[in-house]
Symmetry: C2
Subunit: 428 residues, 2 copies
């Protein structure tokens, strides 16, 4: 049955609670028609299609978007926990430099199935060997925004120039339906001004985003400060002309209010990684209310399986929301709608992909159904839907996942995933 779905050109989703995430944030009970990878209609009408999914009151949401991860590190799950940040970074860098292509491929494919299984239809990845990860993207059917990491040549195990490697990767994968290549940057602790400006130039030339770490840890910020006469990293990046709307910065925990304003003024986007930031004990919470107040688009990233240890945006939404409330002693400082926006429309804006993040005619058909027959979602109606997505739902509620019009998960089962395929596979 699933193999048929995989290939059908039109699909009718019947009788769902549709959380449209359109500009009015409408939630309505109705139907969705998908044709040739696009949403053709959202409404009350019954339409003919090659196949029908009987939603029976399930909640339909735009596919969740994970805006920061290192999917090839999925095999590190459970291996780097409960140690100091110093030891964590040391072990991670060492393990990262000893990978085989087979290990990168298998780890990535497993991580992509984990994401699809929990309702993520797009993710942003920062790593090297992205051409290997791209193959896993095609195999799994997820949408991968793959940023080839650049950094100083003397600080990497990449062969050749990271900037040239990134350019080659982007040139080879232009205009793929599921693989969207872009420029990555490691962070100020590993990349000098030349690399930053080269990355920006490359992104402009190839019309891609730039994705990289920014102000994650105290140590990286204070080391930089000491080496740059008290100038902070984000201030410095503004000075050299790097800050620009293509830049999707991950973390942004150790930014001052002045730096937050610089990001807002220059159109920089933030991928907030609440679970990873907390678990690594990097100190404090990213100043999310201040980012939002200064016009920075905030989305949610999982970060790697070494520091999260899942690639789960439901956890990111719930923990992110309650962390802000707790941090500011104010349960009303954020709300479920603002948090769901982060995982959908804000993320789509950060990727310059207005076709993603909402369920509206003409948009790409990335759709997730949440099962309201489960105990934890059973009493959901149009009024409680958004709250229940953010505060109650988890991966166990995800019954159907559609990416680009293809039904990847159906009635709780991932079509192409078979745990036996991974037995005895190489993961390092």
């Amino acid at each position: 049955m699933l193999n048929n779905y995989w290939c059908v050109s039109s699909l009718f989703i019947h009788d769902a609670i549709i959380v449209t995430q359109n500009s009015a944030r409408e939630v309505l009970r109705g139907n969705i028609l998908v044709r040739d990878g696009k949403i053709e209609s959202v409404g009350k009408e019954h339409m003919d299609a090659d196949s029908t999914v009987e939603a029976g009151g399930k909640i339909a949401i735009p596919g969740l978007i994970n805006t920061h991860c290192h999917v090839a590190m999925t095999h590190l799950r459970g291996k780097l926990d409960d140690i100091s940040l110093e030891k964590f970074l040391e072990r991670t860098f060492k393990l990262d430099s000893e990978r085989s292509n087979a290990g990168i491929y298998n780890s990535s494919l497993l991580g992509m199935y984990e994401m699809l299984d929990s309702g993520i239809t797009s993710f942003v990845d920062l790593y090297y060997s992205e051409e290997v990860i791209a193959k896993a993207v095609r195999e799994s059917g997820i949408r991968g925004f793959l940023s080839w990491v650049t950094l100083d040549e003397d600080k990497t195990t990449q062969k050749g120039s990271p900037l040239k490697n990134a350019e080659r990767f982007i040139s080879n994968f232009r205009n793929d339906e599921l693989v969207i290549p872009s420029v990555g940057i490691q962070g100020v602790y590993a990349a000098g001004d030349e690399v930053y400006l080269g990355a920006k130039e490359l992104a402009e030339k190839k019309d891609t985003i730039i994705h990289g770490h920014l102000a994650e840890t105290r140590e990286e910020v204070y080391n930089f400060l000491n080496q740059h006469n008290g100038v902070r990293p984000t201030e410095h990046l503004e000075k050299i002309g790097f800050l620009n709307p293509r830049f999707l910065a991950a973390h942004g925990v150790w930014n001052t209010l002045h730096e937050v304003r610089l990001m807002g003024k220059n159109g920089v986007k933030l991928s907030w990684n609440p679970v990873s930031n907390a678990k690594l004990g990097i100190g404090g919470m990213a100043p999310v209310p201040e980012y939002l107040a200064n016009g920075v688009s905030v989305s949610i990233g999982s970060d790697s399986c070494g520091s999260n240890n899942t690639q789960d945006v439901f956890q990111g939404m719930k923990f992110g929301s309650i962390w802000v409330k707790s941090d500011r002693w104010n349960p009303a400082i954020t709300n479920a709608q603002a948090i769901l926006d982060m995982a959908t429309v804000n993320a789509a804006a950060s990727l310059n992909r207005p076709d993603l993040g909402s369920l509206e005619p003409g948009k790409s058909a990335d759709i997730v159904l949440l099962d309201t027959r489960t105990p934890r979602l059973m009493l959901t109606d149009e009024i409680t839907a958004v709250s229940n997505i953010v505060y109650s739902a988890d991966a166990s509620c995800v019954s159907d996942v559609i990416v680009n019009g293809r039904l990847i998960k159906s009635d709780g089962h991932l079509a192409k995933f078979n745990s036996k395929d991974f037995q005895d596979a190489e993961f390092v």
Copy 2:
């Protein structure tokens, strides 16, 4: 098949990664034999039994224990979010006073299925009308530690004296296999010394625990302080002789180090409710490292669906752990083993039930299997099992749940739960 399991007298679980939670915290690959509601053996041997569960490398853990909730409030999910604490409490108290028995029963039953579905085999409840909730316990097959709440007569809608109601409930339900009645207490804002001491006397007479709120919000603590010449609630409870090893206190956020020490000295137990505390923005985190350092047994509670909005101990473990790490800027301040202990052996100790919380011969057979064929648990081995339970697993991984030797959930399906049974049901 499930109906057979429900009644079998012996059950053999074959080939699991067994996280025993025994005193050596052994994790071993092997088998578990269950007979007449008890664990008969844990080890490598193959045994004959009426039925066999082929675990095929699934992780076996002791059933999780949720040490604080109000299960009858499950219907409030999604209805009290993102508002001030004042408004939250006001609305909750109003809604709580307008319940029907049918509403209490159906809400409770739905909440119990939610807990069983996510690997919880025992829960502690604080509410009135516990005789109605007890019926839902029997129907669902979960283990319910039901604390009938006591408070001043002029502050309740209970008919008659809450202490007498509690005594009647405890007398009627003595020695039930699944229903374990006990004395509840609302908190210092609603119960005077007479009720506290009456509750203690009743608990001693009937040999039960006492379960109640303590130092949850700033407001309740500072109101008390103002009315008691600067004496703090927990100090006061010690002074009047209330603090004792039967007392399982929920929250304990706004306790000073002096009060933490008083709790340790008097054998009081803490039910920590990290998700609820954060979501309500009550200010800061309970001083968990200090509780542990002072010998207080710390376990994990979900609190109600109005403030969590799930009854999920996996979320409590993961969020609790990363919150402590973040709060103290130290990822090594706690570890997965200490957190899993909270949800299992610590909780069992808090309930004075050494037969629960570990997988050892002679213990009660409350066992949960986590599916290692899921993407998020697939690479788990004996070394990473504990980390992956705490940081990676969620309800989507729970495939089998056994309570008191009965298989309640099998291969992902709750035996007795049918969402249709709840259609058009009364929940208020």
